[in-house]
């Protein structure tokens, strides 16, 4: 999941949870607030009454009577003042029912006893619970709507801001990772951002890519130089040995030794040559401007290998279309690629085996040549490494695949060709050459 989606999801969820929690807690909170507010009102009223008594005397209320009572029109509030005989001190707020003019109503009540001029009085102030509650609902509604509105507003703001914040990250990913191809030849400018983490990430990726590029260049240069420098001494050695071989006086044993040395030198020569070829390919030293008709190229390769095919009594089935033309290729390299693959198909085949060369156009897009042999096959765990330089998969006869497939790989990469292998050990292998769309069109 993308970071932006994750953050979006997280913010939305967390805000939803807050709203739900608030809805859950709201009645309690509102009730608590109103009840505290009621208590406060009741106490204020008590203070007022006591104030009046203090200033104007108890008769201000009693007017000669022994008790006082007053209530509002709908009996939502009342005040009662009376003399009590025993002075049991009380100062509490509680909920209880009272009968006012035959109506039993539940009140929030404040009881307070006090002494005034040697007489004990009880003051009771009440407010109906329903009157208190009637404010609850609208209060809750208003609170809820306000909160929901605010949450929605912040959510939108958050998402917009995260999007803005994460934009450099997206740019870094597309410009530095997705759109780049090994070996990172083109230089790319840093992404503009004020976020230091992104700056750091971006710079690190730029540094990393240039380091990879540099190392790659160095390796290429080294391979190329080393190969050139090695060729001269190899050349001298070979010629010296050839001259020694000419010596008529040479004993049979000495000659055999020289033959051995020559054959080892030969191996060295082949390795250096292959490395040189690979490094030249990787150095873009070949132009890709040739047009190739694969049918005729394969025929040419088969003709070149005719002797080997006949000697091994291998049956060749070639059913390529004669009308396919491939463009933007280097003919010599493609020849070598197909040569190496068919040569391997012969080499690792059984005597009187078969090689089937077929082609296929997939989804009108890519053109594929399959080279299928009935040879020794490749073990599953070796399939991944057969194209690696010097990683030698060894078959039954102890021979390695050598650098032939590395050359195939280099040539393929150079042309954006994909090579796939299917193999069943002991039954044979199929190498498939996938030419990308750009290269193919059917001509006549």
């Amino acid at each position: 999941m993308k970071l932006l989606s994750k953050i979006t999801l997280y913010t939305t969820l967390s805000k939803t949870v807050i709203v739900l929690l608030f809805i859950l807690l709201l009645p309690g909170i509102v009730k608590d607030v109103t009840s505290q507010y009621t208590n406060y009102i009741l106490k204020e009223q008590k203070k007022k009454v006591l104030d009046n008594i203090q200033k104007k005397g108890i008769d201000y209320y009693f007017e000669g009577d022994s008790s006082y009572g007053s209530y509002t029109l709908l009996k939502e509030e009342f005040i009662a003042l009376e003399t009590v005989r025993d002075h049991s001190p009380a100062d509490s707020i509680f909920t209880d029912s009272r009968i006012v003019e035959n109506d039993t109503l539940t009140y929030r009540l404040l009881d307070y006893t006090f002494e005034y001029k040697n007489k004990n009085y009880l003051l009771e102030i009440g407010k109906t619970v329903s009157a208190i509650d009637q404010y609850n609902r609208p209060l809750q509604k208003v609170a809820l709507y306000t909160l929901a509105g605010l949450i929605f507003f912040t959510l939108i703001l958050d998402l917009m801001f995260t999007r803005l914040l994460l934009r450099p990250l997206n740019l870094i990913i597309t410009s530095k990772i997705l759109n780049r191809k090994f070996p990172f030849k083109e230089t790319i400018l840093p992404v503009k951002t004020s976020t230091t983490d992104f700056k750091f990430l971006d710079q690190s990726l730029i540094d990393l890519a240039s380091k990879i590029k540099e190392t790659f260049e160095k390796e290429k240069e080294f391979t190329s130089n080393a190969s050139h420098e090695l060729m001269t001494p190899i050349s001298i050695l070979q010629n010296k040995m050839e001259n020694v071989m000419m010596d008529q006086e040479l004993t049979e044993m000495s000659r055999e030794k020289v033959v051995g040395m020559l054959s080892i030198l030969n191996r060295l020569k082949k390795i250096v040559r292959s490395l040189l070829l690979i490094s030249r390919i990787e150095n873009d030293q070949y132009v890709k401007t040739d047009e190739i008709k694969p049918y005729f190229l394969v025929e040419e390769v088969l003709n070149e290998l005719k002797d080997r095919i006949e000697l091994r009594k291998i049956r060749i089935v070639q059913s390529l279309s004669q009308y396919i033309v491939l463009t933007h290729l280097n003919r010599d390299l493609i020849f070598q690629l197909i040569y190496n693959l068919i040569n391997n198909a012969i080499r690792y085949n059984h005597d009187e085996g078969e090689i089937e060369i077929t082609d296929q156009i997939i989804n009108n897009e890519s053109y594929v040549i399959h080279i299928k042999d009935t040879g020794v096959g490749i073990r599953a765990h070796e399939l991944e490494t057969i194209f690696d330089r010097f990683k030698k998969a060894v078959n039954e006869s102890g021979e390695g695949y050598g650098l032939g497939l590395s050359i195939v790989k280099s040539i393929a990469q150079y042309h954006d060709i994909r090579i796939t292998v299917q193999s069943e050990y002991g039954k044979g292998s199929t190498f498939s050459i996938h030419f990308p769309k750009l290269l193919t069109f059917a001509g006549t």
Binding site: H228, M231, T232, I234, S235, I236, Q238, N239, K240, E242, N243, M245, M246, E252, R255, E256, V259, L262, S263, N266, R267, K269, K270, R273, L276, R280, Q285, Y286, E304, K306, D307, R308, L311, D332, Y339, N343, R347, E399, G402, G404
Partner: protein, 224 residues
């Protein structure tokens, strides 16, 4: 035939000289481009073996001027550079052949012989081999005028052994000549054996092929 070897690597030049002298060529050595120009103006050569990587000048420049002054000379470019471009440039400038280093001296001689044959026309291209006649230009083997069918590679092998007659050639040397850049050591050596077997079989039907000998531990030779 006189040959001018232009090669700055002294020990390499000496080996070439040693080999070509034994093969009957007269050799002179030049280690720089300047030396080469000087010697060529002194007297003409039949062959110029030219290394491209000279210390003082570009071998291709030497070739360009030499070609102008001595058009009769045959030119073979020898180089470790091995770039395709050099090869094309060299051949465009009129070189007769191009051998990338490292090359076999046997191959060099074979190329020189081919150039000589090409330039001298058809005159001496038919050579006796035991009871057979070998036509190097038409690439055929004849017995009493009857053609014996050899494959392309079988003929390549036979003619290479003939050129270096009385010298044992290794399987690797043979396969290098026959397969060139595409040869693979051990694997191809087996094919050489099969090819030799086939040559013997095909020719033995007509006459003895005792001259085609197996040299134990080495390879094959033609003894005449």
């Amino acid at each position: 035939m006189n040959v001018l070897i232009v090669e700055d690597e002294k020990s390499m030049a000496l080996e070439m000289e040693f080999f070509l002298k034994k093969a009957g060529y007269l050799c002179d050595l030049a280690f720089t481009g300047k030396q080469a120009r000087q010697m060529m103006s002194d007297h003409p050569f039949d062959f110029l073996l030219l290394d491209l990587g000279l210390p003082d000048q570009d071998g291709l420049e030497v070739l360009k001027d030499a070609k102008k002054n001595c058009p009769e000379t045959s030119y073979i470019i020898l180089t470790a550079r091995g770039d395709l471009e050099d090869r094309i440039k060299g051949l465009d400038l009129g070189a007769d052949d191009y051998l990338p280093k490292p090359f076999s001296l046997l191959e060099l001689q074979s190329r020189m012989q081919a150039i000589t044959r090409r330039k001298s026309g058809l005159n001496d291209s038919v050579v006796p081999l035991g009871d057979f006649m070998v036509d190097l230009n038409k690439r055929t083997v004849l017995f009493n005028g009857e053609e014996i069918e050899l494959s392309r590679r079988e003929f390549d092998l036979l003619s290479y052994l003939m050129l270096h007659k009385n010298r044992p050639l290794t399987r690797a040397q043979l396969s290098d000549h026959v397969w060139g850049d595409f040869s693979e050591d051990d694997y191809d050596s087996n094919f050489i054996d099969v090819h030799i077997k086939n040559i013997r079989k095909k020719m033995m039907a007509y006459a003895s092929v005792e001259w085609l000998q197996t040299v134990r531990g080495t390879g094959y030779k033609i003894k005449i």
